[in-house]
């Protein structure tokens, strides 16, 4: 019985918390927030936000695509093993 009462109390507290004005994501300021995001600066700010990531991704593509000489090579020691196996046969 005590457990049920405790759960009921917790549910009521949670429901009251969710119904409080603070949990409604600031309905009154939402138009001002949207005006602060979707304005004449939007495209410029979008470019500024994404620019570092795009530059990093271009650098990654350059690093991976660059012919370092070590990207494709034979397995170390494999040549000797193959030679030995030919001699055995």
């Amino acid at each position: 019985m005590k457990r049920i009462a405790a759960r009921l109390r917790a549910t009521v507290i949670l429901a009251l918390g969710l119904m409080s004005t603070g949990a409604w994501a600031c309905e009154t300021c939402r138009p001002r927030v949207e005006a602060g995001i979707y304005n004449e600066h939007f495209v410029g700010r979008l470019a500024l936000t994404l620019m570092p990531l795009l530059v990093v991704l271009c650098l990654v593509a350059l690093i991976v695509g660059f012919p370092w000489g070590a990207g494709r090579q034979g397995v170390p020691g494999a040549s000797a093993r193959r030679h030995a196996s030919r001699e055995e046969s």
Binding site: C26, V75, R81, S85
Partner: protein
């Protein structure tokens, strides 16, 4: 007979694993910045210098741009996971923990250096910790990135010795029958 498959003609292709590791590092480095510095410590936001956080509205506008930044770091991480999955299925890619961990660290360092140079130094969009010692914090962020790059590079170089595919299988040419 199996040795005949492992000769100089067997291609060791580290690029798929390296690409995956770098993308994972860039993405996770972005998450460290966003989650730790933006959200937990709340030292700065993405456009804090352009839209100073003075009230709830400006905080929510910054939250939007932080969210967009997180969305792209999420996409980068997801792309890294896809590439890692593909690399694991290939028989010509050495399954090297050192290349993976080194690439992740190097990707994180690359993110720190580029983000630090562009956002903090060149554009001044935000600083690591605005205030009396902001230049020191910015330079520390850059130095940490350089250290990550060096450690990651060393690990990747050490990983060149790893020459087994996933599951300990010997490497084979990609289109071997």
């Amino acid at each position: 007979m199996t040795n005949a498959l492992q000769g100089p003609d067997v291609a060791v292709n580290r690029r798929p694993l390296l690409a995956a590791a770098l993308l994972l590092g860039v993405g996770m480095g972005g998450f460290v910045d966003g989650i730790l510095l933006h959200q937990i410590l709340q030292w700065h936001n993405m456009l804090a210098s352009q839209v100073p956080v003075t009230d709830l509205v400006s905080a929510k506008v910054n939250m939007f741009w932080d969210g967009l930044f997180h969305a792209f770091t999420w996409l980068t991480t997801a792309a890294g996971l896809v590439l890692l999955w593909r690399a694991g299925r290939r028989v010509d890619v050495p399954w090297s923990g050192r290349i993976l961990s080194g690439g992740v660290l190097a990707g994180w360092g690359l993110f720190n250096v580029v983000e630090g140079l562009i956002d903090h130094q060149l554009l001044g969009l935000h600083h690591v910790k605005p205030g009396p010692h902001e230049l020191a914090w910015d330079l520390g962020f850059l130095a940490f990135g350089v250290v990550l790059l060096l450690v990651g590079g060393a690990l990747m170089r050490a990983g060149r010795e790893d020459t087994r595919a996933r599951g300990g299988r010997p490497l084979r040419p990609l289109h071997a029958h």
